[in-house]
């Protein structure tokens, strides 16, 4: 489920220093958003940095602006029943025909205290683990919440 931390051939892919206690990986493959995330036009290149040892929390960090990052989580540990339907257009957009290749990540809003953290189930970030194209899908009409409590 985890993106392989293979060495990239692009020298500019360096990731900023991570907070103490996290395993810093200095070179990560660049993920290219086929459409920018809503609210962040112009940010298309990201890297995925693991923030904990258990693989529950990752930073989706802009490769061009190290100050911009999103916390993301794989849904399984938090929302075991979460199985978004990925439509054909989104699959074509990613250039994928095998859904198994697609890594699903949920964008987390940290909130005032950790227990206030929410995850966006309506707009998961989908990453093709082979060609590293990604998109924040918008599951309009799914009825899924934009802010679902992460910890309750």
């Amino acid at each position: 489920m985890v993106m392989p931390a293979a060495a990239s051939d692009r020298s500019e892919d360096h990731v900023p220093a991570q907070p103490a206690g996290t395993s810093a990986v200095h070179t990560l493959p660049t993920i290219e958003l086929v459409h920018p995330m809503p609210g962040f036009p112009g940010h298309r290149r990201f890297v995925l940095v693991r923030l904990d040892e258990d693989g529950l929390l990752y930073a989706f960090t802009s490769a061009d602006d190290p100050d911009l990052r999103f916390l993301v989580v794989p849904p399984l540990a938090f929302f075991p029943d979460y199985a978004p339907e990925i439509d054909d257009e989104t699959m074509q957009l990613l250039g994928v025909d095998d859904p198994e290749r697609v890594l699903i990540l949920l964008v987390v809003t940290a909130g005032e205290s950790a227990t206030d953290a929410t995850a966006n189930l309506m707009a998961p970030v989908l990453v093709d683990q082979v060609n590293r194209r990604a998109v924040q899908a918008v599951l309009t009409g799914s009825g899924l919440p934009v802010r679902a409590s992460l910890t309750s």
Binding site: L68, T109, T115
Partner: protein, 68 residues
Amino acid sequence: MIGDDVVVTVLEVRGDVIRLGIRAPRSIQVHREEVYRELQAANQEAASPSEDAVRNLAQLLRPPSGGQ
């Protein structure tokens, strides 16, 4: 039509409700404005949390048995 390749179709009119269909090339994303705005706001709120917030969350997510 809007431009050369965006097609707007009225799918259904029922009372006060009109359903529209919009067909556009894949390079153009079509969203309902209120949905898109909500996502913009949610992403902006989520972006670049403080180190403290990240640390607290990582702490909270650590399984009770697996911590050091």
